[in-house]
């Protein structure tokens, strides 16, 4: 199943490219794979119908199938080619399928012409000379023969149609998988942000000489943070307890505390009765990171960050509040460039995938005097 998908992909990207000899061989092999069984089936059909010798029927069948299949395929390719020329965006044409509307009349033409031509060739090969009238004499036999021919033609066409469709579906599935993998990689990259990592390592390098126990403690936090980030990126759909979520945020903030010193004040509020509730792993991480990176880090004085959980009826409300630079006077459309939108978009997508419309993320400028940003996630308690 791999090769047709590959061919289809190539077709898609360079419709007017001359096919390579390998492609042509692959296509001919595909033709042969339907040609042989179709010829055998029709030989058997006529053998059972007319009780001639099987060998004779096989010769006639091979000849007819050759012409019919040849005509169908030439028609299919050239019709699709013309459609591609006219409308390059046509997906069917891109996988060499001009549509049933054009193919049905062409199948009829191919069937009749191919059958007649095949008979002529068969006569030539077997050395039999029949008067052309002999077939038309018996309308029932003619009808039967033609039915066989059309079933055969339809079968051949359907084979190529379904092959093409399958290949297209595979290409689509492949593209979907690729884009999922890409977004996962992007997420991991945004979470393991190199700037944060190298700065943390730089601090660690200093602490190892100055204060080994503190360096060890910092390294343990870094290990826990890295492990959690990698685990979450591998099994994005799992869940862990809210207390685990807060512990991982605590690790991250502790690392930032070492770097920012007194410029960072932090508070985590998790009521005991909510600690066991399941949440998607590291759901809040991008929001906390944004609060630090775009909120507190750019300001000279620093400020505080508070991550809190509370229950409102059947909803779990998680909030991340900072007193940093804020999201600007002009509203959310002008979030600073540099990945903050990606983090927010990622949280939104995860919430939508897991809870549909039941969960929301709200990002607002904090309304009290201290300024900064407030992010609120609401999700249903299961």
């Amino acid at each position: 199943m791999q090769e047709p998908a590959a061919i289809n992909l190539l077709d898609k990207f360079s419709a007017h490219r001359m096919p390579h000899s390998q492609d042509i061989l692959k296509r001919l092999w595909l033709e042969l794979r339907i040609f042989v069984p179709a010829s055998m089936a029709s030989a058997l059909f006529y053998y059972l119908m007319y009780r001639d010798s099987f060998a004779t029927n096989l010769i006639y069948s091979l000849c007819s199938t050759l012409f019919i299949q040849g005509l169908i395929e030439v028609g299919r390719y050239s019709l699709a080619y013309r459609m591609r020329k006219r409308s390059p965006d046509n997906l069917d044409a891109q996988r060499n399928w001009p549509g049933w509307g054009l193919m049905i009349p062409w199948i009829v033409v191919s069937g009749v012409l191919g059958y007649v031509a095949g008979r002529e060739l068969g006569d030539l090969l077997t050395g039999v000379h029949r008067a052309p009238a002999t077939i038309t004499d018996n309308p029932r036999a003619l009808l039967l023969s033609m039915t066989g021919v059309f079933v055969l033609s339809l079968g051949i066409t359907y084979f190529f149609y379904s092959r093409g469709r399958m290949a297209a579906m595979e290409t689509r599935a492949e593209a979907a998988m690729r884009s999922a993998a890409e977004s996962q990689l992007k997420l991991l990259e945004s979470q393991l942000e190199p700037h944060m990592l190298f700065n943390t390592l730089a601090n660690l390098r200093v602490l190892i000489a100055q204060d080994p126990p503190r360096a060890q403690a910092m390294l343990d936090r870094l290990i826990a943070f890295l492990r959690a980030t990698l685990d979450a990126s591998r099994s994005g759909s799992g869940s862990h307890s809210l207390s685990a979520e807060f512990a991982r945020i605590g690790d991250y903030l502790e690392l930032m505390q070492t770097r920012m010193g007194t410029r960072l004040n932090r508070r985590l509020d998790l009521p005991d009765d909510l600690a066991g509730l399941p949440v998607p792993p590291l759901l809040l991480q991008p929001l906390v990171e944004n609060a630090i990176k775009h909120g507190l880090e750019p300001t000279v004085a620093g400020g505080w960050i508070r991550v809190a959980a509370q229950r409102e009826g059947s909803m779990l409300v998680l909030s991340v509040r900072d007193t940093g630079a804020g999201i600007g006077g002009a509203g959310l459309d002008v979030l600073p460039p540099g990945g903050s939108q990606f983090g927010i978009q990622q949280v939104r997508e995860r919430l939508a995938a897991l809870y549909g419309k039941a969960a929301t993320l709200e990002l607002i400028a904090a309304s009290d005097g201290e300024g900064g940003t407030l992010a609120i996630v609401r999700l249903p308690v299961s």
Partner: protein
């Protein structure tokens, strides 16, 4: 770090060849340095490493944000500046730009710059392009040693030539290159279509100002002053964010805090000291052009 980046080690090798080994063993050279780094542990460590590698280097100040770096550097006029790229307030690049614009003519030679960064691929590209020295965090001792050798060689050469002016000229040339390279950031930074109308709010009223009416923009703390013929508005945006939404053909930056609409410029006047001042059509304000952007008016 040098081992991980082959072309970087090639650059070092090349520089090592330029600096004769005999010169490295001359008596300890005296110099002053200013360190701008927002993370206290890293600032202290950089200072300690520098003291160990270059006993004659005296760290006259260690500051934790961009504004303080500009202020202290102008007062203390150190020989060498170590600038972190990502700092609160201003970036290291902006600090360098501000210093180049405000550095007094009569002062000591413009400081030698060394940028310090944990990771910033675009800035690194700009440094490479403009041949500016930089070190990566965590700072590696052997890398820092090479930087010190380079700095000493440059200071020695400077002492021999005894000319202050060329060092400022050279610094300005380098910074222009740097700003130019830094402006070539990836797509997404520049707005897709230029702004056409600016919404300036005064009390409860939002005034719509067509972009063609604007004479110039001037940064003022967290705001931008928008000056039109008969009045002015304050808009809450940084000049940098605003600039990304302006047509660069039409709006020229002439100072780190001024962007002028080029059609509004009436004349450019150069005084005896070589300072450029712009007069405007239909407005009495005079705008001064900083050294960094003066080359724009050379052809007029």
């Amino acid at each position: 770090m040098a081992r991980a980046v082959p072309w970087l080690s090639c650059a070092f090798l090349y520089l090592d060849l330029l600096i004769p080994t005999a010169e490295l063993s001359v008596p300890i050279m005296k110099a002053t340095a200013l360190i701008a780094e927002d993370e206290a542990l890293l600032a202290a460590d950089l200072q300690a490493q520098l003291t160990r590698l270059w006993p004659g280097l005296r760290c006259v100040a260690s500051v934790a944000d961009g504004e303080a770096a500009v202020e202290r550097a102008l007062v203390l006029q150190p020989d060498v500046l170590f600038l972190d790229i990502r700092m609160p307030g201003m970036t290291g690049l902006e600090v360098a730009q501000a210093l180049a614009e405000d550095w007094p003519d009569s002062a000591k030679p413009f400081p030698l710059l060394v940028f310090v960064t944990a990771y910033d691929q675009y800035a690194l590209h700009a440094f490479e392009h403009a041949a500016v020295d930089y070190v990566l965090k965590p700072v590696q001792p052997d890398r820092l040693e090479k930087t010190c050798a380079r700095l000493q060689a440059a200071l020695r050469q400077r002492a021999q030539s005894q000319a202050a002016e060329p060092s400022l000229e050279a610094a300005i040339h380098t910074l222009r290159e740097l700003l130019h390279a830094d402006a070539a950031r990836p797509p997404g930074a520049q707005a897709a279509s230029p702004l056409r109308v600016i919404q300036a709010s005064v009390g409860n009223t939002i005034t719509m100002v067509p972009i063609a009416d604007v004479l110039y923009f001037e940064a003022a703390d967290k705001y931008v002053r928008l000056v039109i013929a008969e009045r002015e508005h304050l808009i809450r945006i940084s000049l940098r964010e605003l600039q990304l939404q302006l047509d660069p053909e039409c709006f020229w930056q002439i100072h780190r805090s001024t962007i002028v609409r080029c059609d509004a410029i009436a004349s450019a006047i150069r005084d005896d000291a070589g300072k450029l001042t712009l007069t405007l059509r239909g407005h009495p304000d005079r705008l001064s052009v900083s050294r960094l952007y003066a080359d724009r008016f050379r052809g007029l």
